[in-house]
Subunit: 145 residues, 2 copies
DNA sequence: TCTCAATTGAGATTTAGTTTCAATAAGAAT
DNA sequence: ATTCTTATTGAAACTAAATCTCAATTGAGA
């Protein structure tokens, strides 16, 4: 019975593996991201720091999100625009998104089967899967009039 | 035994359904897109017209690709950058992409199972699926040193 | 043929994300 | 504790991609 490796550990390991440093800014960003329960993007995250008076540069936020993504602390999400959206992993567990072309509504879904097939395919192509972006575009029930 | 509805028909039907017109520009773009056998983006498509002296505005190309996407004439693809890439449907049949975070190499894959599950999920959520964007990010064999 | 909303071209504009570079900080080595 | 090397940061400039603006034009139904 082993204690599950916590996400901060994994994040730090990624940094080490890449020869990067665990800075105050990275600590703040890590913590903030873990506290958000919904979808967000780089700028909305930046605004949270700004609003509370914590000075972290916008560029720093942009620079670090990809690392959190790669370490699995956050996952790709979907928003109403075309910018990069994220959400904390394990808020509701991993899931993917359907985007309505009519009203931009987001429907979340999850399928273990789907996830497993992705793993299988990755193995087949000797691809080391880190994360994925899977969005279905179409029309929600309301918009199918 | 019914003749399969050709793609131009489907495109025209989409236009009609949306109250849009079948212009010369749309015709040109439709034909050009059908003639490209590889991945492309709005600008590379625009350049093809420019090079051969056919004047179609860049904005017109940008404006119309989403319609071709929605009608299924083209599908979302993946390129080396983060812009929107497309490719003609039925060049090699529908497929999705793995993107190497190391060298940006693109691996194409296809899985009927995966496609079926997407259909199932869409049905479950009463979502009318039009197209999807499914990309796996990770490291290709070479970049896993 | 008439009418009118949709479309286009050309350039300006917006948006999202990246780059630059001097100053600073992390953290390994001494 | 001090030195050293390299990564990191902030702030603003910049770039890339896509969208918007608006007057002139065109498609297609009446
Ligand atoms: Mn979500
Ligand atoms: Mn492809
Ligand atoms: Zn909708
Ligand atoms: Zn690679």
């Amino acid at each position: 019975m082993q204690k599950p490796k916590d996400q901060l550990e994994v994040f730090k390991e990624l940094l080490t593996r890449k020869g990067l440093k665990y800075t105050h800014e990275r600590e703040s960003i890590y913590e903030e991201v873990r506290a958000i329960n919904h979808h967000f993007n780089a700028d909305s995250l930046y605004e949270r720091f700004k609003k509370r008076g914590e000075r972290i540069a916008r560029a720093t936020v942009y620079r670090n999100l990809p690392l959190l993504l790669e370490s699995g602390v956050v996952q790709k999400s979907a928003g109403n625009g075309k910018r990069d959206f994220y959400e904390r992993t394990r808020t509701k567990g991993h899931h993917d998104h359907m985007v309505c072309l009519g009203c931009r509504k987001i429907i979340e879904f999850h399928s273990d089967e789907l996830e497993q097939i992705q793993e299988q395919l990755s193995r087949k192509y000797k691809f080391k899967l880190v994360f994925h972006d899977h969005r279905l575009f179409g029309y929600c029930e309301k918009c199918q009039s």
